[in-house]
């Protein structure tokens, strides 16, 4: 039994060292989790105990009243619907664009390849406000203010550079011989791509879709300048508006924040393994 237990640990570590490592990790875990627990705690408080100054997570007399208010008295459901629509569209467009562009970068040598890859990298370095202002003016002149298309295009453009690199890195790991045998079987380049290679790239596709979805789901600044009509605003814009009225709506804001965050956190955590695989792959393979 004792031997069994020790094989779970690093062999040279003393007991004290192991305890110390756990202690340090637990302190950092508390720091990581506490803000979310704090929101959760506030979301359960009733109006008259909103400003209690104790640090208990589950308050006495807790209630779900704030959740009811957020869902049925505020526009939370409308914001969720809008965000779902915009984020799903972003994920689909982003995926189509990055899968095919990533494939081109991975498989072909062509004139301008290096320049275009550099372009994708450089876009990551543009200061957002530098593009935000001309984009805002362009979108205004195209009459796309208060239109989801006005959001879809910048969102796709921000997500694509990263997902292209990610897809390229993944395609690089798939042997070229697979397409070659598909060609012999009579496929052309496009059928070989979507019938043979794409199914093999499912993990990378899932991560890219998740990344595009999440970046749109969490975007505040662009949404805030493009969407003005109350029935069109997305979750981030809505939640910021709720939070601005701090004293009156703190509890309701917290409930809404918990409703928004929990599904995203679950999705993210369950896919995080792939996400990191994709990131480091991209890092090592370039």
């Amino acid at each position: 039994m004792k031997k069994n237990l020790s094989s779970h640990f690093e062999k040279n570590d003393s007991k004290l060292k192991t305890i110390l490592i756990y202690l340090i990790l637990i302190v950092f875990v508390i720091i990581s989790v506490y803000p979310l627990l704090n929101v959760f705690s506030v979301s359960l408080r009733s109006n008259d105990s909103l400003f209690l100054t104790d640090l208990k997570i589950i308050p006495d007399n807790w209630s779900l009243d704030n959740y009811r208010k957020a869902l049925f008295e505020k526009d939370l459901l409308i914001w969720i619907r809008n965000s779902l629509a915009v984020s799903t569209m972003t994920a689909i467009t982003g995926l189509t664009l990055s899968a095919s562009a990533g494939y081109a970068f991975s498989r072909f040598n062509f004139y301008g390849k290096k320049t275009s890859m550099m372009l994708f990298l450089v876009t990551q370095m543009f200061p957002a406000p530098m593009l935000l202002l001309p984009m805002f003016i362009m979108i205004t002149k195209l009459h796309l203010i208060n239109n989801f298309f006005g959001l879809l295009i910048p969102y796709t453009a921000t997500a694509v550079p990263f997902t292209v690199w990610l897809m390229k890195g993944y395609f690089d790991t798939i042997p070229k011989s697979l397409e070659e045998s598909a060609y012999i079987d009579g496929c052309n380049s496009f059928t070989a791509f979507y019938k043979v290679i794409l199914p093999l790239a499912t993990p990378a596709l899932a991560i890219s879709a998740l990344f595009a979805f999440m970046s749109a789901w969490s975007e505040y600044i662009v949404a805030q300048i493009i969407l003005r009509k109350p029935d069109l605003i997305t979750l981030p814009v809505g939640l910021v508006q709720l939070q601005m009225d701090f004293t009156a709506e703190w509890g309701v804001y917290s409930a809404a924040a918990i409703i928004t965050t929990i599904p995203v956190v679950i999705l993210f955590v369950s896919l995080s393994k792939y996400l990191v695989g994709g990131l480091t792959l991209g890092g090592v393979k370039g």
């Binding site: 990790l25 562009a101 081109a104 290096k114 990551q124 362009m138 480091t280 370039g286």
Partner: protein, 306 residues
């Protein structure tokens, strides 16, 4: 397009007729159009704007005013202190992201029962949407009801005016952003550590290397190719981080809490000085360009692309 493909079909041998010269461009085009339309065009439009006096009242009839925006920018001089603040912001954030991230990754890269649960809990700050984290920290910074001042009081310290003192607001924003960025670096470092062959450490151990020697001579050099691009990306992200400061300090916040990018945002969307804001952002872009050219050259990140 079909005529183009047809032309190649007749000319080429059967094995290569499937992939002709236009194929890669067909795959590339949709992404390229979006990038050119949404990045390159606005960029050039922004440069043009910086030479005009466009504002809310001159929205449809801006005048070309040459370099006047740039001259005013440097005469105002606020950009210098904002620049310094941005350097502090970027350096402090990235420093703590990397050092705490690497530290946690090393602890997690050991045999440790329950470590996968710890790891999942540690990446939560990365999973929470940024605007929610920023708003949450803002509420925790509240003077009377925020968790941080309550904790400070409990520990016997005087509470801090986080949101009314510009310097403390800036410190608060840094704390928030450090909290936000650690998990990314931790996960990258962890991925890098796991790819290091364990036999290298065993060999070093046989040679009698100390822990520190192993870290310095095996871990760090082998982590470098993984961490360098992550650090560059992290630096640029931090430099361009707009959410945290805008949400914690508020869009109209004191100028002493702003970094370069949030100052541009303020000028454009709170003061509607479009031309001036555009000139400001061109200057920021040039700074970033110098930085990234320097890094690309120094690290040779593009060498592997071919």
């Amino acid at each position: 397009m079909s005529t183009l493909i047809g032309k190649f079909k007749t000319k080429r041998k059967p094995s290569s007729q499937l992939i002709n010269k236009s194929t890669p461009y067909l795959y590339m085009m949709p992404a390229m159009i979006i990038m050119l339309g949404m990045v390159l065009y606005p960029f050039m439009y922004g440069v043009w704007l910086s030479f005009t006096n466009m504002s809310l009242t001159k929205f449809f009839n801006p005048d070309f005013i040459g370099l006047r925006n740039y001259i005013r920018l440097f005469q105002d001089g606020v950009i210098f202190s904002t620049f310094n603040r941005t350097i502090i912001w970027t350096f402090v954030n990235v420093f703590f992201h990397v050092s705490i991230g690497l530290f946690l990754a090393i602890l997690l890269n050991r045999k440790l029962p329950g470590k996968s649960i710890l790891r999942v809990l540690l990446i939560i700050p990365w999973a929470v949407p940024q605007y929610i984290s920023a708003l949450t920290w803002k509420s925790m910074f509240n003077y009377s009801y925020g968790a941080i001042n309550i904790a400070l009081k409990t520990l016997g310290f005087t509470p801090i005016n986080w949101l009314s003192d510009p310097t403390m607001t800036f410190v608060g924003a840094i704390i928030t952003n450090i909290w936000l960025g650690v998990p990314f670096m931790m996960m990258i470092a962890l991925g890098g550590l796991q790819s290091i062959d364990a036999s290298l450490y065993e060999a070093a151990e046989i040679d009698g290397a100390s822990n520190f020697q192993k870290f310095k001579n095996i871990t760090l050099p082998l982590l470098k190719p993984v961490m360098t691009p992550a650090i560059i990306l992290g630096t640029v992200w931090t430099f361009n981080q707009i959410n945290v400061i805008i949400l914690i300090a508020g869009g109209f916040g004191n100028e002493k809490t702003q970094i370069l990018v949030t100052e541009v945002y303020r000028l454009a969307f709170n003061f509607y000085r479009y031309g001036y804001a555009a000139a400001y952002s061109v200057v920021i872009f040039l700074m970033l360009l110098v930085f990234s050219l320097f890094y690309v050259r120094k690290t040779g990140i593009m060498k592997e692309v071919d």
